[in-house]
C-alpha cells in the first residue's frame, strides 16, 4: 500500500443543481484550507449516455481543481467513447494508468454502479482522509462512497504539476 494514499469521495444527486450546490460547499472548505484536495468536479450524463466532467476552475500553478484528476478516475470507470471534455483529454492518459493500477476491479464496479444510478455526481480527489469534513459539507447528496487509491499522493502532485505546465 502507498504510504500516503490518495482518497476518492463520490456523492450522487437527483439533480445537477444539488451537485453544484455541494460543489460550492467543498470549494469553500478547500479555500479555507480545511481540507487538502487535488480536484473536485461535477459529473453529468447527457441523453446519449455520454459522461461530462465540468471544469469550473482555470489551471493554476498547482493544477488544483482542473478536472484532470477527476477525468482520470472517470477514465478508469467508463470507456473512452463514452467520455466528453476533460475526461477524454489526452493529458489524462498517463494519469488514468496510475489510478487504474491503484484501484481494485471491485472498487471500479461499485463506484461505476453508483455513477450509473445518479443523475449527477460530485467526485473529489483528496490527499488525506476527507470523510468527516466532507460528510458535513455535502448536504444534498443521495448516496456517498469513499475509496482509498493505492497511489502515492506525491506521484499525483507531480503528474498534475506537469499537466498544468503543459496546459500553459
Amino acid at each position: 500500500m502507498a504510504d500516503e494514499p490518495v482518497f476518492l469521495y463520490l456523492a450522487t444527486y437527483e439533480s445537477l443543481a444539488d451537485a453544484q450546490f455541494d460543489y460550492e460547499a467543498v470549494k469553500a472548505l478547500h479555500k479555507d484550507h480545511v481540507i487538502g484536495t487535488y480536484d473536485a468536479a461535477v459529473i453529468t450524463k447527457d441523453e446519449h449516455g455520454h459522461v461530462h466532467v465540468s471544469k469550473h476552475e482555470k489551471p493554476t500553478q498547482h493544477a488544483a481543481w482542473t478536472g484532470l484528476a477527476v477525468g482520470a478516475v472517470i477514465g478508469v470507470i467508463f470507456p473512452p467513447s463514452i467520455l466528453v471534455g476533460a475526461a477524454a483529454g489526452g493529458l489524462a492518459g498517463g494519469l488514468i494508468g496510475h489510478f487504474w493500477k491503484g484501484m481494485s476491479r471491485k472498487d471500479v464496479m461499485e463506484l461505476g454502479e453508483l455513477l450509473d444510478d445518479g443523475e449527477a455526481a460530485l467526485l473529489i480527489v483528496g490527499e488525506s482522509a476527507l470523510q468527516s469534513y466532507i460528510d458535513k459539507a455535502l448536504t444534498k447528496a443521495r448516496k456517498r462512497a469513499t475509496r482509498e487509491v493505492d497511489m502515492e499522493s506525491k506521484v499525483l502532485s507531480k503528474e498534475l504539476a506537469e499537466a498544468a505546465r503543459d496546459a500553459k
Partner: protein, 174 residues
C-alpha cells in the same frame, strides 16, 4: 435484452502455448461449421502489464477473426494506456461503446479479474452459446467463463465486416 445476444467466451491459461493450442482447436471447429463466431484471438500480457491481441488470420470478406471484436472487449476491461495499438483502431472505438452498454459492471469485474490472474487467454466472441461445443476444443484452460452481451448481432456483424473491408484496403495499398 437483444433478441439474439452476443456471447463472450473467455478461457485463461497458465502458458501462452496452451492458449495457442486451444485456439487452433477452436479454429478447426469454426472451419467445420460447428460454431458461429465473429472473432477469436489469443490475449497475452507483457512484463509491464500491457495487453496484446494476437491476430492470426488475414481479414476475409466476412470479417471473420480480425481481432477487432476481441480488441473491443479488451478496450472495456483495460485502460487505453495498457492496450496495444492493434486494439485501439478506429473501428474498435465505436464497438467498445456498443459492447460496453451490453455488459454489466459485475461481468466486467469478473472477466477482468480472470484476465488479470491468467498468463494468457483465449477470447471468443460468438453468435450463439459456445460453452457446450467449445468444451470439445478447449482442453487446456485453467478457468472458463461465458457471458451474454446485450448487443444486437446485426450491429456487431456490420462493424466487424467494415473493419475487415478497411483492413483489406490497407493490404492492397501496402
Amino acid at each position: 435484452m437483444a433478441d439474439t445476444p452476443v456471447l463472450l467466451y473467455v478461457a485463461t491459461y497458465d502458458s501462452e502455448a496452451d492458449a495457442h493450442a486451444d485456439y487452433e482447436a477452436v479454429k478447426a471447429l469454426h472451419a467445420a461449421g460447428e460454431i458461429g463466431t465473429y472473432d477469436a484471438a489469443v490475449v497475452t500480457k507483457d512484463a509491464e502489464g500491457k495487453v496484446a491481441v494476437h491476430k492470426h488470420e488475414k481479414p476475409t470478406q466476412h470479417g471473420v477473426w480480425t481481432g477487432v471484436a476481441v480488441g473491443a472487449v479488451l478496450g472495456i476491461l483495460f485502460p487505453p494506456s495498457l492496450i496495444g495499438t492493434a486494439i485501439v483502431g478506429g473501428a474498435a472505438g465505436g464497438l467498445i461503446g456498443h459492447l460496453w452498454k451490453g455488459m454489466s459492471r459485475k461481468d466486467m469485474k469478473e472477466i477482468g479479474e480472470m484476465l488479470d490472474d491468467g498468463n494468457a487467454a483465449l477470447v471468443v466472441v460468438g453468435k450463439s452459446r459456445l460453452e457446450e461445443v467449445l468444451g470439445k476444443a478447449v482442453t487446456r484452460a485453467a478457468k472458463i467463463s461465458e457471458r451474454e452481451i446485450d448487443s444486437d448481432n446485426k450491429v456487431l456483424e456490420d462493424v466487424v465486416e467494415n473493419a475487415a473491408r478497411g483492413a483489406e484496403f490497407e493490404d492492397l495499398h501496402d
